[in-house]
Symmetry: C2
């Protein structure tokens, strides 16, 4: 008999999921391997940057007062009493009438207070001594990078949960993080169900299709920051399925299944959840595609029943799994990034439920337009390869017109949104 399920609004469903936190440990890994991971601790400057007053140019460290009367007609002459390579320190005194040759990045001698660039002086040698001529006055502090001007000791640099891109890596290296504290990747298991599924290596057979969802989700898990673990395809035998789910649960933080969540005779996921005494958060969401998405918790583990349809499976993952993975990584913006865009064409399809349309977002010179990508059917796999966004159309009986401003969720952005589920209302500009 057909089970009646009450569809939950999308925002409520996400909210229910987000209440469950997967707690994850910190691990220290070499900086060379830390790219694309998430910081597990705040990083605070333990020294000034620059750590000393330094020269931003190749040139000569001088005492500015000595140049007050310098002009093209009456250049002043200073004796060069030494040289400072980057990385070395000039220990002697520098007096009036003297200068020191200094390399980019080297520490300014104590007695000096300005730097003259190499190009601006005339050098000459006299009696075995080196001299420079300067043709204009310099002010105190000219051409000096001051200790701490970039960053003062104690400054909070980047916070826990920050995604490590190359600019963050530079900062970590500057502050000596040869080993970097990052959030361990949550282990996310994937099981595909359905006797219609051929292994990716098998030739096509009548009535059967290749298992594309599992590989797609494995890629989604990696992209969201998780460690993906594939447990293969299950047959339609209930006991085998149940045991496989139990085995998988012993190895993962989060378990994803695809297929078997509808109300068909071979849709075992609901029965498996019941058998495990899992707490089903919801088994129907007021959305298209993916309305049959089921989420359950079992102590501190999460079990997802994603749809067997590729696009429904894809959307279910991005809405309900991605933020849980990102939360475990301490991200403060765990959801897909929400933005707005001009709807490039009419979208006449009426729909009682909130609809997520796979779409191509196009940059029109600083503002965005969005176009549905390919066939908008939940079974479509080709439209996913073109899509870089989901158009979010709230439930209602009417369609939407070209040039309305609609909400979009961006699929390929590293940076996410805090909570995108407010004020989703298309409008004319």
């Amino acid at each position: 008999m057909v089970e009646k399920r009450t569809p939950l609004p999308v925002a409520d469903a996400v909210h229910k999921v987000m209440k469950h936190q997967t707690s994850i440990d910190t691990e220290w890994i070499p900086i060379e391997e830390a790219s694309e991971r998430f910081l597990a601790e705040d990083i605070v400057a333990d020294h000034d940057v620059p750590p000393f007053n330094k020269s931003p140019y190749d040139g000569f460290a001088i005492i500015a007062d000595n140049t007050t009367n310098a002009s093209r007609e009456h250049p002043i002459t200073l004796e060069v009493i030494g040289e400072i390579g980057a990385g070395s320190v000039f220990e002697n005194n520098v007096g009036n009438g003297q200068a020191v040759r200094i390399m980019t990045g080297a520490k300014i001698p104590e007695d000096c207070d300005a730097v003259v660039m190499l190009e601006l002086v005339q050098e000459h040698t006299d009696n075995g001594k080196n001299f420079i001529e300067i043709k204009r006055p310099f002010k105190q502090h000219d051409n000096i990078s001051f200790q701490g001007e970039d960053t003062e000791k104690g400054t909070s640099l980047v916070s826990k949960g920050t995604y490590i891109h190359p600019g963050v890596t530079a900062l970590l290296a500057t502050f000596g993080y040869a080993q970097v504290p990052v959030a361990k990747k949550p282990v996310v298991g994937v099981i595909a169900t359905g006797s219609e599924l051929l292994d990716i290596k098998e030739p096509l057979q009548p009535g059967k299709i290749r298992n594309s969802n599992a590989y797609m989700i494995l890629a989604q898990v990696q992209k969201a920051g998780g460690e993906a673990k594939y447990f293969g395809t299950l047959s339609d035998d209930f006991d085998t399925c149940l045991q496989a789910v139990k085995d998988a649960l012993s190895e993962v933080d989060i378990l994803l299944t695809t297929g078997g969540v509808s109300v068909g005779d071979y849709d075992y996921i609901p029965a498996i959840l019941k058998n495990l005494k899992a707490d089903v958060l919801f088994n129907k969401v007021a959305m298209r595609p993916g309305s049959v998405t089921t989420v359950a918790s079992l102590e501190d583990q999460m079990i997802y029943g994603l749809s067997g349809n590729p696009s429904a499976c894809y959307v279910g993952f991005e809405l309900f799994v991605r933020p849980i993975i990102q939360n475990a990584l301490h991200s403060s913006t765990p959801h897909l990034r929400k933005s707005k865009a001009r709807l490039g064409v009419d979208f006449p399809k009426p729909n009682p439920f909130m609809r997520f349309v796979r779409a191509k977002l196009v940059d029109e010179g600083g503002s965005a337009a969005v176009f549905p990508a390919g066939l908008d059917k939940s079974g479509s796999v080709t439209s996913l390869s073109d899509a870089n966004a989901l158009i979010v159309l709230p439930g209602g009986t009417r369609g939407y017109q070209q040039d309305m401003i609609v909400d979009v969720l961006l699929l390929n952005e590293g940076e996410g949104s805090e909570w995108p589920w407010e004020n989703i209302v298309p409008y004319y500009k």
Copy 2:
């Protein structure tokens, strides 16, 4: 003595670099490892998707004509003569007055031409036979996913050079690519020069700084799609440097050095390039930061002398190295993505050269605003950790005002630009 160098406009410099192609082989790797790689071949559909007419719902396959007179008051009754699980095929004939139970994704029997959803029928059993009642008429082709409606055999699906995101992975799995042809990652070596550099593990010492550039560039190489190989920090000894560069060149496709490209007494890169008889494409670019960026070619290898200043080094990489790596990966959009944004504050600093300002791009609901990130000095390392864009300000003697629309290069976007170096002119909207 100071060598005179003629600064080359940025677009010309990029153009010169792009003439040199690094040729890269194809390798076949398991689909599970192909995420974030680039396809080395066009992918063409070798079968229809779906490969047969299938049911998008759980329900009953019927002959539509049988339901012409069905109504709430006068439901019609069909005998259920069998069942088709997903993945199996119904071999028997279906005649008038008959129906077949069908699961989501299963193949429609030859004789049937519509599907009735499970929820819409009333089931009953009579004398050991199963029947359904249908209360409204269905049309031919109702609720059928037709063979090839998603993709027809022979359709070009994704082209060589496509970045493999989860949607592309789904497509590859659908078409049986257990092994995926991807471009081999070009091997990019990194050498840091400068005796002021401390290893990342060493405690600070007077006059010295930690080597942050090398780790930053290693991360940039990975992000751009290359395989990064670190050759360590060199001292200021010329012969040691030369030998290290020669050794590194025997192991890489592209070699990056950081530091040592200015006109200081310890800046050996120009002399090394001369010694190697490398063809110097340019050694000065009309830009800030990074004007000393040097690029040379040596047969089919590229050698880069990037600045020792963190931000100058960063910008030099993104402008001149990233597109060469992406080209080797067959990307059709190898450059940083160009977009436009509203300048959020005045930028009064005048500049004779084109300026790249590290900046934070903020989404203001479908249109973008951009704000300089931190201190705009080429030595600044902290501003890089906040930045997600570079503001591009063309050379000129005046500054730029708030609310002008300026060009920006996006740092964290997977998708790039074809050729961003046209029409860079700020304007008021």
